[in-house]
């Protein structure tokens, strides 16, 4: 006598999530083996936006790679510019004037806030709320206006050069930024926290979902808000300081629970800390040139170089191998979301499908950065 079909629990089916799906992360495909509504195995499939950045780096000079850096993680493009500028400046021994360092920090932190705002909007869109997108984009447009005055682009910035930045900031940018800081600080408590963070629907959707332990973070190499949401106090701006970050007084938000709510709160607090950094940088901004001396044709000496910067998603590394020529011999981009996503398969086992999507949203993925 056979068991009727509806009482059998060993039937699994394969559900294909992506590569085109309404969540705005990009083209990610996840092969889900499902048992009803529960996930038995989740296997991300990458490569749908692989755009050969590492091969293009070898084909052109060091300066010709700068526009490519913004196309990888387009939401925090200035940090990618910064990382590339840092590694080449290390390799070639180029000095950066102080005013340029401060301008770099101000623009990178503004971009970090814009990136977190877009993450917030997209995360809530995944969970089903459309309104926060409109509020976040409103604030984001103000940031983009400020950065467009100074850099010339809205999204894919190519603002930094080896030795500084190419355009100085003017007084309107400084007053505009101060106004923006006041505006965002005024809007945060009501619009962001009262409406959304303390919302019972959000709390029920993301509390205790997708718990990542600190040991898992270490084994998979997860950094950034994913690690800080699991209790690991690691931020490159404090642990391995670069540029002028040691001059500023800011905190690193760390939450211990390891669930999606903790990662959410890390990013919300990071926005406030970025506002603090920008304020201090504007107060301490020195005068001077914005571009240091750099040779027209760069030929760094042969060797192995590494630079790490903290982007909105984690620790971005540039592993550069030079052979003395004018092209990089090999550039490896250590993308933070590549490592963050690698723990998805292990953590999503046994979750409900809707929870797995909330978990994926809390990891803050940008797929072109994974695929490079």
């Amino acid at each position: 006598m056979t068991v009727p079909i509806h009482l059998r629990h060993d039937e699994t089916f394969v559900l294909n999530l992506g590569p085109q799906h309404p969540a705005t992360h990009g083209v990610l495909r996840v092969k889900l083996t499902m048992d009803g509504e529960y996930i038995v195995k989740a296997e991300p499939v990458l490569g749908y936006i692989h755009r050969m950045h590492e091969k293009l780096a070898e084909g052109g000079t060091f300066a010709q790679f700068m526009p490519n850096t913004a196309r990888m993680d387009y939401l925090h493009a200035l940090a990618f510019n910064h990382g590339w500028a840092l590694v080449v400046e290390k390799a070639a021994g180029i000095e950066v004037p102080e005013r340029a360092e401060y301008i770099r920090v101000i623009t990178v932190e503004l971009n970090r806030i814009a990136s977190h705002l877009l993450w917030w909007a997209a995360f809530l869109l995944d969970l089903g709320g459309f309104t926060p997108l409109l509020y976040a984009f409103d604030d984001r447009e103000k940031i983009i206006d400020l950065l467009e005055r100074v850099t010339g682009s809205r999204l894919t910035y190519c603002y930094m050069r080896f030795g500084g930045v190419y355009n100085d900031i003017d007084d309107e940018f400084i007053t505009g930024t101060r106004d923006f800081i006041k505006r965002l600080r005024g809007r945060m408590p009501r619009l962001y926290h009262d409406l959304v963070t303390h919302n019972i629907i959000l709390i029920k959707r993301i509390k205790d979902i997708g718990i990542i332990s600190p040991e898992q973070c270490r084994r998979y190499g997860a950094t950034g808000p994913v690690a800080r949401g699991s209790g690991i106090n690691y931020d490159i701006r404090k642990n391995e300081p670069y540029s002028v970050y040691p001059e500023f007084d800011f905190d690193i938000p760390v939450f211990d629970e390891g669930d999606s709510m903790a990662r959410y709160m890390v990013r919300m607090h990071e926005m406030e800390q970025s506002l603090r950094i920008i304020e201090q940088a504007l107060d301490k901004l020195p005068d001077g040139p914005v571009m240091g001396k750099a040779p027209k044709v760069l030929k760094p000496e042969a060797g192995y170089y590494y630079s790490a910067v903290e982007t909105a998603r984690g620790s971005l590394g540039h592993r550069l191998v030079c052979d003395g020529g004018k092209n990089p011999y090999k550039l490896k981009l250590r993308s933070p979301t590549f490592s963050n996503l690698s723990l998805y398969g292990e953590v999503a086992e046994g979750m409900l499908l809707a929870d797995a999507l909330a978990f994926m949203g809390s990891l803050d993925l940008v797929i072109p950065e994974i695929d490079r």
Binding site: G221, N239, Y306, V321, K330, K332, F338, S342, L343, E346
Partner: protein, 168 residues
């Protein structure tokens, strides 16, 4: 002793000869033979890593076990194609999550026509995807890897794009 010395001491057991006193800038110079293996302390401000470990391919797993015991995490695995020396080089970057900072670069060289390196994905699951990517780009074969298939290129691609002699 600080973490840099602790790691050096832990790694020194693998290499019978003591770390060479020549600095990396002098390596490859007139009278200095290229080193076979060993641990070198590098200038962190210039190179971005504290230690430069050159090991044989079969020692890679032992190095990974030592790094795991000392509490490092695997940051990245990359490959380099030295076409004129007919060798591939696999670079492992280890870093620490919080606390004292120390970055260690581990390098190993394999012949270009038969690149085989044992996998470290049993110790660091992060290596799973990184090794797949190195296989995808260079064709380096990682022995005992649970799932060594292409990760970024289409599954049926028959070329390894980052090799220096590849042009589509």
């Amino acid at each position: 002793m600080d973490i840099l010395e602790k790691t050096q001491v832990a790694l020194a057991g693998l290499f019978p000869e003591s770390a060479l006193s020549v600095s990396p800038e002098e390596e490859g110079g007139q009278d200095v033979p290229p080193r076979e293996s060993g641990v070198l302390v590098t200038n962190f401000a210039k190179h971005g890593s504290h230690l430069d470990v050159l090991c044989r391919p079969d020692q890679v797993v032992f190095v990974a076990q030592i790094m795991d015991r000392e509490g490092y995490f695997l940051e990245a695995i990359s490959g380099v194609d030295w076409l004129d020396q007919q060798q591939f080089e696999v670079l492992y970057d280890y870093n620490r999550l919080g606390g004292e900072h120390c970055r260690v670069m581990v390098r190993t060289r394999v012949p270009r026509n038969e690149p085989m390196v044992p996998t470290i994905s049993a110790i660091f699951p992060a290596a799973d995807w990184h090794e797949r990517e190195t296989f995808d780009f260079y064709g380096v074969h990682f022995q005992d890897h649970p799932n060594l298939i292409r990760i970024l290129l289409p599954e049926d691609a028959d070329f390894h794009p980052l090799r220096k002699d590849f042009m589509p």
